[in-house]
Symmetry: C2
Subunit: 218 residues, 2 copies
Amino acid sequence: MTIRVLVADDQEAAREALRLILDGEPDIDVIATAADGAEAVHRALLRRPDVVVMDLRMPGMDGIAAIGRLAAAESAPRVLALTTFDLDEYLFGALRAGAAGFLLKDSDPDVLIAAIRELHQGRGLIDPQVTGRLISRFAALSPRPATSELDLLTPREHHVLRLLARGLSNGEIATACTIEEGTVKTHVNRILTKLGLRTRVHAAIYAHEHGIVTREMP
Amino acid sequence: MTIRVLVADDQEAAREALRLILDGEPDIDVIATAADGAEAVHRALLRRPDVVVMDLRMPGMDGIAAIGRLAAAESAPRVLALTTFDLDEYLFGALRAGAAGFLLKDSDPDVLIAAIRELHQGRGLIDPQVTGRLISRFAALSPRPATSELDLLTPREHHVLRLLARGLSNGEIATACTIEEGTVKTHVNRILTKLGLRTRVHAAIYAHEHGIVTREMP
DNA sequence: CCAGTCGTCCACCTTTCGATAGATCTGCGG
DNA sequence: CCGCAGATCTATCGAAAGGTGGACGACTGG
């Protein structure tokens, strides 16, 4: 079973080079090409390739926007983002948009071919040259390991903080806990004191940055 | 210049196997081993290896906790997390704690060796088998593509929201903008109306979740 | 030109918040 | 048993925050 590939790159030469490399493989079939993002989306929806090799820097609708469109589609193809320029914005933007793989253009043809096979297997792939930055960014985005002054809070205070961080007023928290509003105020006060904060807004921000809040997925 | 490596694994056999594999390389030198997290941290601080190969599942202080300690240290070594069990918790936990690389134990010795060299070069490395999940999680964690009701806000309102989301009071915002507090209240009100929110706490949360806030690094 | 819209600004009044003081209640060691 | 510490609860009062109405200039299309 051959892997159906669509190649999107604004440069004629690059498209042909990619086609040559990929069509040399028995299990890979380049079924279409595109010269900009809009064309890539259009043809991908029409031809339903398994994998889209997408240059990120293209005129008109750029690669990242195109990836976003494709990712939103039904039976979305696996997208391999390809770029000459190693910019954070490209890397993170492409992954955020829904790319399954990211490669720099100076990679060997073998690597590119292997990457397409990986993607087709359902796996992801990141260029080793940029893996470090992805890891760093990931760590920075992730909630902290709960090693903080949060342990100073009593269970009640912790609960109140959670509700506060969802935007509930003191009165609403009181109702939710079946206690008086005055009591809630005390709890909020102790929370602020213990955490060294000034207002409930700070507390809400603190809670979110420490990953206390269970973000609901609608 | 040889790469100084510390191997941490609770199983004697695994430690010896790793030592054998790694000491076979001319540019790699296993300078110490450890049988649990605490020992790994202690010896790493003492011997200052370039790379720590850390099993994640260990008695006592586990690997992830140990990685956290090491990452907090000065001249922290690069940590390669190793695990038999491919659990999300291990992968994300290790990276969050500060690991520079993540490999499953069924990897070839060659891959392990190559990984250590990659880490020593300052790059990161993720086992291809789990790269896909890292990408998905990353995409889920990343702020949305800024396609929101935020565009409804005037420049002034946008600025006020930024300050509000840092925890400034109306009075402080007024001072910062050299306008009256009453004016700030109007802006806040319009922000709440436009974004469909109820209180400034909601606005602060909203701003953070949409990545408006430039988090300062002190 | 002028009516309408939009952004910015300010003041008044009500509700909510935040700081403070103190009342119960519970668990723990002497 | 007693005292003490900490958690939980309540009440009061000055300070913010939030809702509302309206003024003023700038820009826009008849």
